[in-house]
Symmetry: C2
Subunit: 338 residues, 2 copies
């Protein structure tokens, strides 16, 4: 089959959009240069374009003033790949290895001993306590500036085990286009992730165009103190906030102070964020990224250890949430895909 | 003495600015329409204008890119009047009175009984425990939406005991001009207050032009739950974060994720925020509003119960912090001043 040139795709998109919503001249002109070229035409792309057209059409029933155009995005599995494990988990395991020289006692002390032997299953047999111990040993005890450098240095060299590329290249091209499209339409785009806020902030602006103040995540406590005559913020081995499940609306309220009008997630950890977003009056958009492409990425949902999507799949239809089927809806997954 | 017409003041300002910094044509043209008309000419106004000119002059040694232009402002005593008591304290006392009908037991239960008798001194004899009890009885137990309405309704009718005006009219006109000036120069302006974040967010955008996401304050915990089929955030009677003293840099780091380059405060509760801001490398601005005008506002500092300024006054000079002397530096304090 002959591939259609991109400009023909753009014409088809424009024509179908015109059937679904009333657009002004400037909207049509911007629509003809497709802002979402890595999305195949289909219900997912269409519902995004319809929603954006409606909330930005002055005088229309769905119009939302610019200051209320807030869109929130989960990170792991929604903006970048989270398989075979969360990127922050790879970071943690590498940190245990690199810190082990300073901790000879770890060779005989669980959960560190098992991590150093490469036996992750045994290491995590200790449950929450073991995870927290690993987390605090690797993520606390340094200043915030030092931690930022540790994360930045690690990301510069670490590679994904299957794709053999830096993790920051494994971000989804269609979602980058969506972030850019929404911002061009006056939206503020926020990341709302269960991952550590200080693990994401060092690179989120460069990779996603999302500045540190618009990254919301889990956190440990910090303490202000003077070291050698200069103030620092010391990272303490104590959890402060878990930004997951029912914690996501709490984190959103705490940092944004307003309800989003659009939310994008991929796992049941995003269920409450989508519920909070879409249950408010007015036009709202909730969408779930469904991982269906084992060839180009991974296929997983209901029983997955990482990124489990079960309740969300069951309830998406009745709640009016869109499902983004990666295999069908995305022409490209990564920027390096053909 | 004859009063000079405003445009002559503007000419004088422009001339003196030209001596201190290199300005491009557009800077001069904007300088000639004085953006700070309620500020008298003097070192405070001059240091603000010098700082802003330097950090916004491309190619200059002090140039700061737009995304790093972050300015933080304390609220009570820095942006609005905090005497004879914090506005939120007036709110709390009124709430005790209006809730007392539902709590007949308060007539004989401290600290409520003393509050209802108007004996604040005795009510607070119970120290921190009494204050926390009053706070939780008046600020928790409702949803975040309900609390927003309570604050909004109260502010619509409550009046300052001396000025007999709504508290939101007792904001400092020179600081409103400063907020507007900084934003026009690409700054993001944040409020960083010891006061409750949900007490400020309902009106901060309308009054200061600061959106909810840029208001940082003290907070109590909230809990996500479903009520009558709809999600709400319930305000729990449990402190979450105290955004004062060393808490201010912690709050700034948690919500902004970057260090401010300018900070404005008025009490020792702002000391660490100014220290954190001005101890970073590069051009930084730290300023203290000094309450010196008992006629137009209030005069207080070292021994004040509210807004105590002691350490900050002692160390301002050696730390290079500017002191804004309200009596001398402000031509107007409130918008309604002649």
């Amino acid at each position: 089959m002959m591939r259609l040139p991109v400009f023909l795709f753009a014409l088809i998109t424009t024509a179908s959009v015109l059937h679904h919503s009333q657009l002004r001249a400037e909207e049509i002109s911007s629509a003809s240069a497709d802002p979402l070229p890595s999305w195949n035409n289909g219900p997912a792309k269409q519902s995004i374009r319809d929603f954006v057209a409606k909330v930005t059409t002055e005088g229309g029933v769905g119009y939302v003033p610019v200051e209320l155009r807030i869109a929130t995005f989960d990170n792991d599995g929604t903006l970048w790949t989270e398989q075979p494990n969360y990127v922050q988990a790879f970071f943690l395991l590498d940190r245990v290895k690199s810190l082990s020289a300073q901790h000879p006692e770890w060779k005989e002390q669980e959960p560190f001993a098992s991590v150093l032997k490469g036996d992750l299953k045994h290491a995590l047999a200790g449950g929450h306590k073991a995870i927290e111990e690993l987390l605090m040993a690797t993520h606390a005890g340094m200043t915030t500036d030092e931690f930022e450098k540790i994360v930045t240095d690690w990301l510069a060299t670490a590679q994904h085990p299957r794709f053999k590329r830096p993790f920051t290249e494994l971000v989804y091209q269609p979602m980058l286009e969506l972030l850019t499209f929404l911002r061009a339409k006056g939206f503020k785009t926020y990341i709302v992730s269960g991952g550590g806020v200080e693990f994401m902030r060092p690179w989120a602006e460069k990779v996603y165009g999302v500045p540190p103040a618009q990254v919301i995540g889990s956190s440990i406590k910090t303490k202000y103190e003077i070291r050698d005559g200069r103030p620092v913020l010391l990272r303490l081995p104590e959890l402060s906030f878990i930004d997951d499940h029912a914690g996501k609306p709490v984190g959103i309220h705490s940092q944004i102070g307003r309800r989003p009008i659009a939310a994008f997630g991929n796992s049941d950890g995003d269920f409450e964020m989508l519920e909070w977003t879409t249950s408010a009056p007015g036009l709202r958009l909730g969408m779930i990224v469904h991982h269906t492409d084992s060839e180009r990425e991974y296929a997983y949902d209901r029983k997955s250890m990482v990124g489990r999507l079960d309740k969300g799949l069951d309830e998406a239809k009745q709640r009016g949430w869109g499902v983004i089927n990666m295999k069908q809806d995305w022409r490209k997954i990564y920027s390096f895909d053909q």
